[in-house]
């Protein structure tokens, strides 16, 4: 969340996105210390189809880089697709597979890198290469529970008694 306090990040997000938030989990506060809790940032089309995800907290430079990437990637996908839904989906699949190959040395098409332990961002690219433009409601539990290792919960924040 600290990255969002950065003026440049704020300017870029406010210019290109309409932003909102959703509580999907909880955490405990014990002896003044936060236990558990996490964050996932979704970049979506206006109809809630996921273009990109940042799993976990990141610094301002990473947030800005990823926000710029998704804006440019979807513009290029729109250009390539010529308004065709299937081709747009395929272009976004290709964009994630490309980053997976270049940055995580994992080739989806050749199944090279199978068994390689991917970090959170690698897992996100793998998920979105496999299921490009999935709806937020279709992937958020997977992201929070399998990628971030948190339990989805509607419970309130609990402050443990000392």
């Amino acid at each position: 969340v600290n990255a969002l306090a950065n003026a440049e990040v704020g300017k870029y997000l406010n210019e290109h996105f309409v932003s909102s938030f959703q509580k999907v989990a909880t955490f405990r506060i014990a002896n003044g210390q936060k236990q558990g809790g996490n964050v996932a940032s979704y970049f979506c089309t206006p109809d809630n189809r996921v273009l990109h995800i940042i799993a976990g907290p990141v610094d301002a430079a990473t947030m800005l880089r990823e926000a710029r990437w998704v804006v440019e990637a979807q513009k290029l996908a729109l250009l390539d697709s010529g308004g065709d839904e299937t081709r747009f989906r395929e272009a976004m699949r290709h964009a994630h597979a490309d980053r997976l190959r270049r940055e995580h040395r994992f080739d989806v098409a050749a199944a090279k890198g199978k068994g390689r332990r991917l970090n959170n961002q690698g897992r996100v690219h793998l998920l979105l290469a496999a299921a490009p433009l999935a709806k937020v409601e279709q992937v958020y539990k997977l992201v929070f529970e399998k990628v971030l290792g948190e339990q989805v919960s509607a419970s309130p924040v609990v402050e443990a008694r000392q």
Binding site: S20, F21, Q22, Y140
Partner: protein
Amino acid sequence: VPAQLAVASSSAEATLPSAVVSVAAPDAEPTAPVSAANIELVRPVAAPACESYGTAVEFLSRPADAARQAVQEDKLLFVLHVSGNFEDAKFT
């Protein structure tokens, strides 16, 4: 077009209405001079309020409102999924 006023294609003549009905003008009230004070503007439907919650980003509290606004403004959607209450820094 009232039938009486229709031009008959065969005779090329227009017929007048059979009666003229006079309509009383509404009682005229003296009108007040127009000024900014007596013009009631139509209020636009209020857009959902944005808050920044201590960040540099403007947030709408409901994702559905954000989605609607994104369509209207031709923008993408940024949705933060958090543990705890985003509105309260202590619980985020």
